[in-house]
Symmetry: C2
Amino acid sequence: MPQFLNATDADFEARFAALLTMKREDAPDVDEAVAAIIADVRARGDAAICDLTSRFDRLDLTPETMRFSADEIADYAGQVSAEDRAALELAAARIRAYHDRQMPRDESWVDETGATLGWRWTPVSAAGLYVPGGLASYPSSVLMNAVPARVAGVERLVMCVPTPDGVVNPLVLLAAQISGVTEIYRIGGAQAVAAMAYGTDTIAPVDKITGPGNAFVAAAKRRVFGRVGIDMIAGPSEILVIADAQNDPDWIAVDLLSQAEHDESAQSILITDDAAFGAAVARAVDKRLETLERRAIAGASWRDFGAVVVVRDLAQAAELSNRIAPEHLELAVADPDALAAKITHAGAIFLGQWTPEAIGDYIGGPNHVLPTARSARFSSGLSVMDFIKRTTMARMTPESLHAIGPAAVRLATSESLEAHGLSVQARLDRLNR
Amino acid sequence: MPQFLNATDADFEARFAALLTMKREDAPDVDEAVAAIIADVRARGDAAICDLTSRFDRLDLTPETMRFSADEIADYAGQVSAEDRAALELAAARIRAYHDRQMPRDESWVDETGATLGWRWTPVSAAGLYVPGGLASYPSSVLMNAVPARVAGVERLVMCVPTPDGVVNPLVLLAAQISGVTEIYRIGGAQAVAAMAYGTDTIAPVDKITGPGNAFVAAAKRRVFGRVGIDMIAGPSEILVIADAQNDPDWIAVDLLSQAEHDESAQSILITDDAAFGAAVARAVDKRLETLERRAIAGASWRDFGAVVVVRDLAQAAELSNRIAPEHLELAVADPDALAAKITHAGAIFLGQWTPEAIGDYIGGPNHVLPTARSARFSSGLSVMDFIKRTTMARMTPESLHAIGPAAVRLATSESLEAHGLSVQARLDRLNR
């Protein structure tokens, strides 16, 4: 049974606060093991990669077979059905169209002193995309990471995907091909992250590493951060649905289960202004759970972390949502735009009852890599911004330096940074001669 | 003596590669001490803050005296000379004008299927700014962190600045007042970071923490990351000057020293296409070092980490600069725009010989918080983007779901995520009835 909370209950605030701070993840501490793996890859390069792949993935590689050849990629991609290929291509096209609009413009202007100011955006030269092997090897994640990188202008786009026992997911290779990945290696784990961060004889280093992974991958990303950029370290998935009584309880039930089925640590919450509707959704969840393929996972998530919260009105729903700062927020209400206007913190919003969250996981266009664990209070989902960086530009004229230089000298002096002041003063002296 | 490298030397590539990977920082390992401080603040709140402030800053506080009152701020701000106040106000106005232009726009459009897509930007609700005490207590850093936060729309802007032995820097309080800081606490170190991240009875928690600090502050920021957002962990400052022979060697010398004086670990590099000019600059540096107030620091930095690199032409200078990915890049050449067009990685570019880097530290308008240690390959300086976050939006119509929903169902099935597919299929079934 999930939790049932009602805003009119005396203990509501305490229980809601407990829901907010609930610990859902018990990540194993693999940091020491990961440190050893990274050190091994830095010391022995390709040889370490081959040994570790043999140990963890039961796969014997040589530096020559580490990388998928163009022929191999074409062969695997050719195994995908025409229907699956068409679906992937439609998804890639829609994700590309959405992310194309994210590219910011360079700016340059002349201020009132005659100084030229502005900034310029340039892409990261080389990015590395980690893709998990086995069950969590999702072609949709390949698109969501690789397409924004290519839209941003990243020239070299490396992908590492482990193939335990040599098992390859053809859809993952096809997704990489469609989205413009330029190199694919059949390696995984902390060793793949280390190879991309530090390079080996076979794998040139990259500047930024993104993509999901298990505890080893997450710990390795944390450790190489600074040496390279990384995206967020994602926690378990979450969905918050705000729904009024004018919904089919079964639709809302499957929406809640679509996150619950990811992971036993996932969290699905319904907020509604109608207690009877909330109870009907809970019944519909139970009914769906009877037959769902992943009912063991989804059922555990719903039982341990699920919640139905009854509020007095939708304004209160928005307030509670802003405290949760959900990764995914569905607004299944009569006027979703009005409710969305009250939302200040959310990774992605799905408006109206015809927009199930899963549409955004695959094909809507927006990115499905989103801030979890309340981090939507301060961070955003993956975008082209993760693959570009800003260089600020300034050009003084003698006149503009004359106008603002003395203030810089004064501030440098107040901070006891004499050479800072001298570098401006030496030029002002020339003007005043 | 700094290093002298010439691109025509046989060992040039090896020496340049060594320059790139030179270890300049030997940060003390304070992580365990910091973990204990954070745990203490989480457990005992205000009482821990008062005890730690007494121990580290030799200052007795109570929860009532932790925060500067409005009267105290006004009193200290009133001690600043009219000239210093005018300089700070000019700097704040210019920084504000520059950062105003960084605010991105919300977007919304209807695609060919009738789906409404877009995104919306919202500010972080509460940000915390750390300002070091003592010698490194820079009013310019207050402006560079606080102004972008306020431009972004951050409502609650907290500042923590330690006041060892009760010594207050009036310029720092004035800078906070000018830039719109809403709360100021006289606490510092890892305890201040912990208080801002987790909150105490007196200090409400924030969502994002920015600002420079010593090894304790840096370790604390790393530890609270995830609970709150943080800005980058900055390394020692760096400057790269690319200069042709048409420059006054003394100007370039003071520019190099303006970063060297920050820190013995700072690094100043000159790249020039004229060996005689390079030698002249090195002589000018030595001459300036004879009298510079901070000659001990600047001299050690120049001796240990400084370098003069002679190249065959400016195209080669750009190539080397892109491998360095400098924090600050001065282009003191005849056609700086042409050279800038070849630069792919740099935190900030200062164009032409009338633009000393120090103008950007104070008053140019761009931010002086910039990526160090080659991280300009993948990251940007501080901006309004650090204080806002994007919520992606999608709204399907029955028609748009009919158009793209089947592809989502197919992809969900290929990933064995049945409930994802069901959440779309349940709606498609209604349409097909």
